[in-house]
Symmetry: C2
Subunit: 449 residues, 2 copies
């Protein structure tokens, strides 16, 4: 029987384990943390995520899409909060199902682990941290935090699904020639909470992703099932404004009063949370290759951690799982064939989503408050309606379709340049000749594949 | 009294320790290896290096330049070995002192350590390996290989001079937001030996750096004081030709017979050495920042490992030491001031020499056997003679002057393009109007600073 050891039982590890177990593979998962289904939630960590087409499709392969969506909150568009003046909703898509879904990281992980626990040939060891791995020798060293016992086990095939700070990747880097880079943004992030109102009702529109774009920095908020919202402030670590300047309670609340006046009354615990929750870093990790012979592979954030601004980290990792599963089927479980093909297939696309995510930060913080941007989105919807299947916006290619990320990047950049140019020269949608714009786009890039 | 802990007592660690000890700093050095002055030489490691102007200048600051040069072998130019036909010497410079010097890594390190041992306020601990470092806590953990004892010591200021695989850098990467990349060439290297002839005489010209340029790959040889030469073969790890194909003694010697026919009889131990010596990787390491507050700093290869093709790794690291010493003097030993300024001053220049070294590999392997390249070098010498101080070749800026590397990169690229263009269109130096070429260069880039 084919065996595989997964290091990391988070979202991608749990999904991949489930997929492989259902193919008859004997799966052992070592997860550093305690079982989240029993444990207290960690404060200040990203607790909700945007699930979109790629993630939903991968979940459908294990039959979990419906129940996950049943506990998700649809977000129909970006709800823009200016410093003053009225808010506005910029829809993501034009059809009812063109929405993204706010899901709880914890809840989704619990769902996957529950399903996994029903597979006889899968075992999950919680509080088991990988401390060393030698891919040449096939020796994995694991520290059991509960018993404080460390042991080394022989492993024929290891998949590192252990996230951005992957221990498997570190080990591979030290035992093979791996090209590697980690690049931090100058911005960090801090999570804050908008609780439900005193009467239990919602304080802001639930079916939207809220953005306070401020040019150079921003805050966002995603809805939770308990009627709270998780806000994330993205701000330079050092600067004016910057986290380094917000070192007192007065400085922090003064900054919010000036910069996010409509959010301040929604954040009753602002000062406490601001100083209790950590300031996180935003890193892009790129490496190559992701595999060591047919013995070790990196997948998900371990191979390609990205910044969160396109909401694609989890969706991309789930798509990884789907691609790996297809190759596993095509190559009769022969990892020597599967791993290099997986890397070749995914690397250009994960490099592309890394870039799309970086680009989207600029769009969200700098241009989403710009009226030309709202006009561009209207024009995109008009083009999608008039030329169905022939025009697809960049956002839709990434979030509502499963077009390869590289194609979304390449087509999207050309489209965005042409559309922003048109929308800069027009003062309303009515002035724009959609047929002429489509002809121009078609000449530049043809139809979507 | 100011104190500093150096991790790594190789070339840059020993020189920096010496410089700081002479400024009255209490210096503690932990060196992973045994004292090389007593230990047997390691086979298959780079045993000679090219010392040039920057390195010599830094050594002069501690009064060691003359004695080091007394045990060095001047190399006047590139001695080109074609597959067939006569060899030729392409001089590096036009003046007698425009040479680079082959020095023994082991001998030079021994020199520096001997000088350091005479400083009362410096201590070197050999066989002491850094296993952990927490820059926030100022705690350095060291494993003593002789006693197998591991201890943690409080350190106010640590400088990592521990080379390309720096343990200090690894620790800083895990405790701060450090941007980092490691990029491998597709080529690896293997060292081989040309011993002296049976009668003790030299087998090839000693006062040159020998190159067997083969387009896409190459071999080089540098002279040693014992009348041997150390050869280094640079070849793709995988390819035709590639190290992966040279897996038998017959394949290796057949490859040398076809590719390096004049070298084969000079390498009597080729087959043994080829399979005994390791195949090394060629990596470029870039990171930023190099410092953590005023508490930790990376210097030399630990901060910016480069490929060896410009012979500048050691020279650049020694220049690092000189720049750090100057800042130490200017800022009265205040590391909080010194470290960020050091990083700002050096980073653009170390990025530049990393690129120059990569570029020079292409020049050495692909174009140094091209007659246009010999013509270009003649033209450079003519221009240097006719316009002294106004024209300096890229090679000379890097190797014979102390022009900032960034300036050498920027001016050098423009110069090289113009000069190669002129030399491609002429069939001899006599056809070229040096005044017109100089006017063209001057218009493009002005005088050297």
């Amino acid at each position: 029987m084919c065996e595989v050891t997964l290091v990391g039982g988070g979202l991608s590890g749990a999904l991949l384990a489930l997929m492989l177990a259902r193919r008859g593979v004997k799966v052992t998962v070592y997860e550093r943390r305690a079982d989240q289904r029993a444990d207290q939630i960690e404060e200040g960590r990203s607790i909700n995520l945007a699930l979109s087409a790629r993630g939903i499709h991968a979940l459908s392969l294990v039959g979990l899409d419906s129940e996950v969506l049943a506990r998700a909150i649809p977000m129909r568009g970006r709800y823009i909060h200016p410093v003053s003046g009225p808010c506005s909703l910029i829809p993501y898509g034009r059809k009812p199902d063109e929405v993204i879904h706010s899901v709880s990281r914890r809840g989704l992980n619990a769902h996957l682990l529950d399903a996994l626990s029903r597979e006889a040939n899968a075992t999950v060891h919680f509080q088991h941290r990988c401390t060393h791995y030698n891919p040449r020798a096939g020796a994995l060293t694991v520290y059991d935090e509960a018993t404080t016992n460390e042991f080394t086990t022989e492993v024929s095939c290891v998949i590192g699904t252990d996230g951005a700070a992957s221990a498997v990747r570190d080990a591979m880097m030290h035992s093979s020639r791996m090209n590697y880079s980690q690049a931090y943004l100058e911005h960090g992030y801090k999570e804050l909470t908008i609780p439900p109102a005193a009467d239990g009702s919602l304080r802001i529109e639930p079916n939207a992703l809220h953005i306070w774009p401020r040019g150079g920095f921003m805050m966002i908020a995603l809805p939770n099932l308990d009627r709270s919202f998780t806000c994330t402030l993205f701000l330079p670590h050092v600067g004016t404004p910057g986290f380094d300047q917000l070192s007192t309670r007065e400085a922090a609340s003064g900054f919010f009063a000036r910069t996010f006046p409509d959010a301040l009354p929604l954040l009753p615990n602002l000062e406490d949370e601001f100083f209790r929750n950590p300031t996180g870093g935003l890193v892009t990790v790129r490496c190559s290759p992701w595999h060591f012979d047919g013995r070790a592979l990196l997948l998900g954030d371990a191979a390609h951690a990205i910044v969160p601004f396109f909401g694609q980290g989890m969706n991309c990792a789930f798509e990884d799982c789907e691609v790996l599963l297809n190759l596993f089927d095509q190559h009769a479980a022969n990892w020597d064939e599967v791993f290099p093909r997986f890397f070749e297939a995914r690397k250009p696309n994960t490099d592309a989503i890394a870039q799309l995510a970086l680009d989207n930060f600029v769009e969200m913080r700098d241009t989403s408050g710009d009226p030309r941007f709202a006009r561009k989105r209207q024009l995109e919807h008009k083009l999608e309606e008039r030329f169905p299947g022939q025009f697809v916006s960049k956002y839709a290619m990434v979030s509502f379709h499963r077009v390869p990320y590289l194609e979304a990047l390449e087509r999207g950049r050309v489209q965005d340049r042409i559309l922003m140019d048109v929308c800069s020269r027009a003062s309303s949608l009515a002035e724009i000749d959609a047929d002429a714009v489509f002809a121009c786009l078609h000449e530049a890039i043809g139809n979507v594949s």
